[in-house]
Symmetry: C2
Subunit: 276 residues, 2 copies
């Protein structure tokens, strides 16, 4: 049976993404203690695949995952999953919204509900936890007037009651996940693909413009550009680009060869079917 | 006396940046409870200026600050400060590194020390706090084998002892801060300037390329491009760009007029002296 890892513990949005991916197939989902464990377990063969969050429509890129993708692990992106994310405020039975003195959750979840918290609970203390599931567990175990933000599933798991079912500031809150594996997917001719790459740029003026020209002049559409610090010096960056097109298209191969010759350490992260 | 706000409580790296900025001048520094309070207090005249973190060389952009800059507040960036950031692991007297069971700190500080923590304290629980100073205070007040990551100043303030003085993974760890005010600085003719802008882009192919061309063809050097989600739909982004040049240069004004005509909601965040 295929084994796929996600960032545990059970009850997180990452588990939901893994369940969605595994639905109807013979896949065992495995909670991992950290994102790096997912990468090293897939690379080392202890897992077949991993599912990791890449970006959220409210809070943006997941820096830790981008850094791992740019690093020494030689994994391939094989697919993407879009998970609608509804943050629910949950507490022990009997607690009303206006009584909440402390809200626990993951950094990303608190950030997705910043406006809600300021409006409804301006005096509450916000406490960051390692995951939304950990937050739900701590609220269930604690005795104070505390509430957790996270998926309703995590609340049910810990016997919590919903006190605000829709706490995210933007209704179309979506997280994008990538499926990682060791080998690229076999290419199907009738399928449309996205390709994801990362590269470094020196301090040359107009360097990014030169790269984008290679795609623009070939009519290749970019769906995302994300920068991350190169970590050595402030002002040096890595760029992550997603483009429409796969390795089977000569124009994409040609553009990537050109980009390879003018960037530092181009890494093709993978190509995967476009979701409609 | 000029009053400048920073993200409190006292003891954080933000306070250090404010102290650095105020050094030798008649400036009172004021700890604020949140980043948004800094923006609204400067806009409302209760503070003259604010100092806010924009990016870190290891962990990248500070999303919450970029979102506030793109929002309705009409503030101007008037200057930048580069603060070397050394994370120190600190605990109550007598605790040795190998005895630490829990490490408390701000999300960014934990992220800057990820490799150190995995190597030296692989079994320790990591707990995120609202700031490095809050973490130091909790370690000082707690009775367990806990340690805080943060500036050595925060440790001294709470009577903690250094147990690992240099815990960040990258030695040249630097945070960049911006000084915000209500009015732009008066332009001095002999001074070189940087200009910072933010704009939205539709889903048109090659849209970012078209923008970058306006700068590249005029020989204007970009020092940073950062994307943030537009929050409404995944796949729509705002772009933050820093460029070398000020409003007094006709070529910069011309490029910005062009960019304004092809982007959504161009906002000039400010221009400020280039640091050597």
């Amino acid at each position: 049976m295929t084994r796929i890892g996600y960032l545990g513990p059970a009850g997180t949005f990452s588990e939901e993404a893994a369940i969605l991916y595994a639905a109807g197939r013979k896949i065992e989902i495995v909670g991992c203690p950290s994102l790096e464990d997912i990468f090293s377990d897939v690379a080392g063969g202890r897992l077949d695949e991993g599912v990791v969050p890449v970006e959220n429509s409210t809070e943006g890129a997941v820096g830790a995952v981008l850094d791992l993708l740019a690093g020494p692990y030689q994994l391939c992106v094989r697919g993407e999953i879009f998970l609608p994310v509804r943050q629910t405020l949950m507490a022990r039975r009997g607690l009303r919204l206006e009584q909440v003195e402390r809200v626990l959750s993951h950094y990303q979840a608190l950030a997705q509900c910043r406006g809600f918290l300021r409006r409804k609970l301006p005096a509450a203390l916000l406490e960051e936890c390692a995951s939304t599931a950990v937050a739900a567990g701590r609220v269930a175990a604690g005795a104070g007037p505390w509430a957790a933000l996270g998926p309703a599933r995590a609340g049910r798991k810990y016997g919590l009651q919903e006190i605000a079912p829709n706490a995210n500031d933007y209704p179309d809150n979506v997280t994008r996940f990538w499926i990682l594996g060791r080998e690229p997917l076999p290419v199907k001719p009738e399928q449309s693909y996205k390709t994801s790459i990362v590269f470094g740029l020196g301090h040359r003026p107009g360097a990014l413009y030169t790269i984008l020209r290679e795609f623009a002049e070939r009519g290749i559409n970019l769906t995302r550009i994300e920068s991350r610090p190169a970590k050595k010096n402030l002002g040096e960056y890595l760029f992550f680009i997603d483009l429409i097109g796969g390795q089977e298209q000569p124009v994409v191969r040609q553009a990537l060869r050109q980009v390879d010759s003018i960037t530092l350490g181009l890494k093709i992260l993978g190509y995967y079917p476009v979701k409609d």
